[in-house]
């Protein structure tokens, strides 16, 4: 079988992204199936991430696969000095596919090169988190009916925020206009701005965050401004409340505008917004299930056609 690991969304063409979105739509219609019956999926979390792990395990379980793995690196032989390669080779003997979260950058690429079974990257350090990107893209597509020509506003920690970097590299196929809203200390790194310029992606930078700035947004993508990211805590105290989204800032928003957030949220979106029709972050998290079902199937060589002709649906 051809190895079909997923390391980064940047490896995917526009057509492939659209194809995976169509797959996710099928799973949204019928999430419970026996499509992966007889398969074993391993979830190796060398760094704890409960929400991502639960989402992947739910995706596998709802498709009839069995799941093995670990949620806490303290229980693995890595602590005894075993190399990543040895762990991957060992688990490859047991599982048909490995979902891996690792604290080191590039771990997923390396694992995909040494493993005889497909690897699905569930986050490697600050580098890539393609299943989050896929669910973000699916959420954008679902709420806007398209991915092309959208005004996407990224707010908060744009320096360390892995999700916003992946979003940039994935959306470049779709002629977006980006708006970067961040404190100077957490501004979008130069290398991503170079990426935008090289690929003809328009972007505007703001340090203010108010109703007027966000009035032309189709997607408002919020992230958390984390205290530990600041070298200067005075600076943190000064900017921490400037990037909070308040209900009274939504008055000028476009009707189709949706607020996304990779979660967990702390206080960056006022709780009263949860009931507002612009809020979409909880549905977004649910979309993660369908997006991950699509990614698992694609990695195991199951096609969109297989899914459309699937006779194993559990009603």
């Amino acid at each position: 079988m051809e190895k079909r690991s997923l390391v980064t969304i940047a490896d995917h063409s526009r057509e492939k992204i659209e194809y995976l979105i169509q797959m996710a739509q099928e799973f949204e219609k019928h999430p419970n199936r026996r499509l992966l019956e007889g398969k074993v999926v391993a979830t190796l979390f060398f760094e704890p991430s409960t929400r991502t792990r639960l989402s992947f395990e739910t995706a596998a379980n709802r498709l009839g696969a069995r799941v093995i793995g670990f949620a806490d690196p303290k229980v693995t032989s890595g602590t005894k000095g075993e190399t990543l390669k040895d762990t991957i080779m060992m688990v490859s003997n047991y599982a048909d596919l490995i979902v891996m979260r690792h604290y080191l950058e590039g771990a997923a690429r390396y694992a995909s090169e040494v493993a005889p079974v497909p690897i699905v990257n569930a986050g490697d350090g600050a580098n890539q988190h393609p299943s989050q990107t896929m669910l973000d893209l699916y959420s954008i597509y679902k709420t806007q009916g398209r991915l092309d020509n959208l005004d996407i506003f990224l707010v908060g920690d744009l320096k360390y925020g892995r999700t916003v970097h992946s979003m940039l590299t994935a959306m470049y196929h779709f002629n977006p206009t980006f708006h970067f809203i961040a404190p100077e200390e957490l501004a979008m790194p130069e290398m991503y701005k170079v990426f935008c310029r090289e690929h003809g992606i328009r972007y505007v930078e703001h340090t203010d965050f108010n109703a007027d700035v966000i009035s032309s947004a189709d997607i408002l993508y919020m992230t958390r401004v984390q205290r530990e990211r600041f070298t200067d805590l005075m600076e943190y105290e000064r900017v921490k409340d400037r990037y909070l989204l308040k209900l009274n800032m939504l008055g000028k928003a476009r009707e189709n505008m949706k607020i996304l957030h990779p979660l967990p949220r702390v206080n960056e979106i006022e709780y009263s917004i949860d009931e507002n029709p612009h809020a979409y972050y909880f549905e977004q998290a649910r979309n993660g299930l369908y997006a991950r079902q699509a990614l698992l199937c694609d990695a195991l060589g199951i096609t969109l056609e297989d899914i459309r002709n699937d006779k194993t649906i559990i009603e």
Partner: protein
């Protein structure tokens, strides 16, 4: 022929690497694994040079390198001159060009990169040979040629 005294004796057959910036000499020695050579290697260090102030030169007897081996040198000094010597004559002059991919040569500067935490080779892709930018195949970190550290250098 200019009647000039050679500070490093001529070789009958082999390879001459000239115009090495003196501070890069030992990096070149490491990169080509000259410490493991069995044939004669003569090295001139801190020699006078009109163009460069001082330079270094290495003459390796009875050894011819592949272009692949030599092109690695472009990582540390892009302006080398290489001469292939047969029967005391220069039969070929070569310049080095940065290859598209560097395997096991450059160390990644990102401490959280898998290559710095696992016994494995690094791979770098040359993104822009004019500006000298490389990117790590694993963690995507971009580094510049003038800040590279070599894997070999670190082992020694």
């Amino acid at each position: 022929m200019k009647s000039k005294e050679l500070l490093v004796a001529a070789i009958e057959n082999g390879t001459v690497i000239d115009h090495i910036p003196s501070q890069k000499l030992f990096a070149v020695v490491n990169l080509l694994h000259l410490d493991r050579m069995k044939t004669a290697v003569t090295i001139g260090f801190n020699l006078q040079s009109k163009g460069m102030g001082t330079k270094s030169i290495i003459k390796i007897a009875d050894k011819y390198f592949t272009n692949e081996e030599l092109n690695q040198l472009a990582v540390i000094c892009p302006n080398l001159t290489l001469c292939v010597i047969r029967d005391y004559e220069i039969v070929e002059k070569k310049t080095v060009t940065l290859p598209d991919e560097l395997r096991g040569i450059v160390k990644c500067t990102n401490p959280k990169c898998i290559t710095n935490n696992e016994p494995m080779n690094t791979i770098f892709h040359v993104r822009d040979s004019v500006r000298g930018t490389l990117s790590c195949h694993y963690c995507n970190k971009t580094i510049h040629l003038d800040e590279v550290k070599l894997v070999e250098e670190l082992k020694n």
